[in-house]
Subunit: 147 residues, 2 copies
């Protein structure tokens, strides 16, 4: 039963990873989120990745509802949906981890509050008591749903 719960949870969280877990996917979403990039040629130029890979990633994002393909002249545009934009906390969390553990020369990019320029942080907090939670203060509880 617990096995089934995890199986199902796998389905839920693993879908995020199937989409953003491939190399380049994260950067495409990040470019769209933080640079406002919408055109194939602009993604291609700033990321420098092969056209066939970029095309496959964008098609997949459209299929999965992370982006909408909008007819344009002379170019289509790829625009993040709410579902795609909602990946922002995932991207920030992954980048922070990478900065701490896999960036020996320092973080190549900083996230800043657009208004005041302060550095952006993520906090894990309790929705009931408001406490800021350290890792060992969080537990996972199966709900019995989605199995």
């Amino acid at each position: 039963m617990l096995g089934r719960t995890y199986e199902s949870q796998n389905c839920s969280a693993a879908r995020a990873l199937e989409l953003v877990g491939e190399r380049w996917s994260l950067l495409i979403v990040r470019d769209a989120l933080f640079r406002g990039t919408t055109r194939f040629s602009d993604f291609q130029r700033t990321l420098g990745l092969a056209r066939n890979i970029l095309a496959a990633r964008l098609d997949r994002f459209v299929e999965a509802g992370l982006m909408e393909r909008r007819a344009g002249s002379p170019h289509h545009e790829y625009v993040l949906t709410d579902k795609g934009r909602d990946l922002q906390p995932v991207i920030i969390a992954l980048t922070h981890w990478g900065d701490r553990w896999a960036a020996p020369d320092g973080p190549p990019i900083l996230y800043r509050h657009a208004d005041c320029g302060g550095s952006v942080q993520q906090q894990t907090v309790c929705g009931r008591c408001g406490a800021h939670l350290a890792g060992d203060e969080v537990r996972a509880e199966p709900t019995g749903q989605g199995a």
Copy 2:
């Protein structure tokens, strides 16, 4: 130059995805984090995945410094390092995204504050002014480092 910066940023964040982006990897780390699982047979039983896949994932985690293999009798133990435990915010962010967008029957697992039982939330805040930030209030700034 901007291209190079992104290239480099890719190296930093993409390493996280190379490790946790594969199916099962996230759940192995989650089991270790939230259930205290350390033994091969326990991971295998609760996740129900093939032994060869589990063995490959654990070996990779050890290589990458996410886990330590500790000699035990009669079994080795796989214990998360600080680097591995530090993936917790990534796992919570991915799970929340999956719950919102890929769990039609509701979240199979809830994260709760161990002390008071409140639901766990992640907030994006400004380290300078303390504002809670919506997606469009965050910008990415190349540092020129790590290129």
